[in-house]
Symmetry: C2
Subunit: 143 residues, 2 copies
Amino acid sequence: MAKQELSIGALGKLTGTKVETIRFYEKIGILPAPARTAGNYRSYGHDHVRRLTFVRRVRDLGFPLETVRAMLDLADQPDRPCGEVDALVLGQLNEVERKIADLERLRDELDRLAHQCRRGGRVAECRIIEALSPHHEDGHCCP
Amino acid sequence: MAKQELSIGALGKLTGTKVETIRFYEKIGILPAPARTAGNYRSYGHDHVRRLTFVRRVRDLGFPLETVRAMLDLADQPDRPCGEVDALVLGQLNEVERKIADLERLRDELDRLAHQCRRGGRVAECRIIEALSPHHEDGHCCP
DNA sequence: ATGGACCCTGGAGTTACTACAGGGTCAAGA
DNA sequence: TCTTGACCCTGTAGTAACTCCAGGGTCCAT
Ligand SMILES: [Zn+2]
Ligand SMILES: [Zn+2]
Ligand SMILES: [Zn+2]
Ligand SMILES: [Zn+2]
């Protein structure tokens, strides 16, 4: 492969992306289809490296692919106002903060649950199972 | 529907589960197939209410369905030692703590990113886009 | 010329649901 | 009695973002 031209495997190594993922991004239009060699191998250049690196960075920040697409669009139109970019980042920040709060509540519940078990007993006496089981008697639920 | 017998919709309301989800749980063997009425409607009793409530509680704690299945198995065999239950809970606790740590790192990065944008500019000068873009020059990546 | 590392396409599998489409059932009101 | 609307049935396909596989081709070195 010529200088400045990368095979799909080389591009993957360079960007920390699996080969299948690169082909997937091409199929859904996140990455443009590259040139092909005589043997029908994909052949990537600098623009592809730049674009895929950008995509991976944004993905690693937890943005969905739809947002990646929006950011690529914005990055390609330098004259648009950049408030939209800011809004995307703030939206993701909120999302992440919401998820953290959810998981912290979950962690507290699991922690309480974990302390219920005095190990060594049988399932029949397990407080964890008990705590998870509904105390449901006849007539409690069904009118 | 007779006393003590619930339609799928009533069971859903009682347990906070969508009708489709209940049918899905039946298909994958999480819930046993209930009796049917003359008109071929599913007809649920107390055991179903108890079991589905248990499933939902475990799911709400973030356990995957595979673990739900394991817990149901354990709950059905009261003579097994309960260390296994404890292990499942501790495993999930670790998992949740790992996710929280990941998200906190993400939040910090997003927070830094959000402060880069002095709003009102054009995308061309946006520091967010710049921060996400690789500084990739010719010869930098390709041997 | 032959072996192994790499590449190709197309399709299926993953998780835990959710959303139809195209029908049947049931109870209540006019 | 008829009809209307809420509910139920099955079966299939769609979601997010990949990941894996089968069954083949290409390339390079020995
Ligand atoms: Zn226990
Ligand atoms: Zn009941
Ligand atoms: Zn900006
Ligand atoms: Zn390069």
